[in-house]
Symmetry: C2
Subunit: 214 residues, 2 copies
């Protein structure tokens, strides 16, 4: 398997976690999102991934895009350990936590949105960062409520083994810290984040441990 990735991309980071949790070997193909106007916009890469984003997974010629779709595919084709365990109700909760991060926080703050925002409205660096943290803080407070009040939360987001939800949580917490956003009131989120970081799969997937880390 070949993963087109960028060390700081939180969508690529999710898939790296899933691959390591599954124990699947992969070749990392770095796509630098900033160099030369963004290597994701090069014609050869855009032909693979018309969204011009990372990650893209090439599984022996089958080209897959969108981080959550890729992780669901990995879970279907390599079921152990399961990242969507349990009943339909369990999976619905795991997916809802994952999507609260992957649909309602991350896309509003990804690179192309920040680039367009600052250019179109001539924003300062401080205004851009305030925008970033507004959505991270609001979104992670929602996730905190989903986790803190639900008895199905365990050592991890759903039970005592990591799931798709944890694959999404950890990169978002990493970004919150990187941009200096407030993590006040996020005791469950931070506790679970710390549990995840104890696992080798999460450590190996971390931005600082990638071949393209700067």
């Amino acid at each position: 398997m070949k993963l087109y990735t960028y060390f700081r991309s939180s969508a690529a980071y999710r898939v790296r976690i899933a691959l390591h949790l599954k124990g699947l070997a992969f070749d990392a193909v770095p796509v630098h999102l900033l160099q030369g106007g963004g290597q994701q916009h090069a014609a050869a890469y855009a032909a693979l991934n018309p969204n011009e984003t990372v990650p893209t997974l090439d599984d022996d010629g089958l080209v897959l895009t969108q981080s959550l779709a890729i992780i669901e595919y990995l879970d279907e084709t390599h079921p152990a350990p399961p990242l969507l365990p349990g009943s339909a109700a369990d999976r619905a909760r795991i997916r809802a936590i994952a999507q609260t991060i992957a649909c309602d926080i991350h896309p509003i703050n990804n690179l192309r949105v920040l680039q367009h925002l600052t250019q179109a409205f001539s924003l300062s660096e401080a205004q851009k960062n305030a925008w970033y943290c507004h959505w991270v803080e609001r979104g992670l407070q929602t996730v905190e409520k989903m986790l803190a009040r639900d008895p199905r939360t365990g050592r991890f987001c759903h039970g005592d083994a990591p799931t798709l939800a944890d694959c999404c949580l950890v990169p978002q917490v990493f970004n919150a810290r990187r941009f200096g956003c407030s993590v006040a009131g996020l005791s469950t989120v931070l506790r679970i984040g710390a549990e995840c970081e104890k696992l080798d799969a999460f450590a190996r997937a971390a931005p600082g441990n990638q071949p393209d880390a700067e």
Copy 2:
């Protein structure tokens, strides 16, 4: 089943389509996103859905949030007709198309983002609409590329029966038209949208046919 919905919410619209495709009866509970500062922020609703968004599905006391997670749950619990048919590779493609819309277009343009954008940066109505159409046009052009170049595209986004991808496509095309965005170059997207609109399930789910339509 009880669906908390708003006629114009494209996330609720997706779930309405899925429910009608499955032939599942449901009671629509309208949540007005604008009246009284937004009924989604009322304490009773926020207790159900901490994200304070629609839709929320109550399936006999089991409360589910996030439109894609709800549709996956419906597909697992009521498998016919399948909205994620075929192989793992088929499902990965269907999910990737759905997520290109539900993660990469819609969240950047949803109500709370538009509200925050216009307030934080004192934008005009014209600037807000330009922001909206920028992401719709860019995103639907990506979807067009995913559909037009792939032999797995059929009468619908994936094959000849509607899937999760179509549940996402039709509400986004509706929004593109509503905001007067350009649909130039979207021949496959528009052809599939027109196919969907021939089906009763899509017609019954449309904003204009909801009890809370204005």
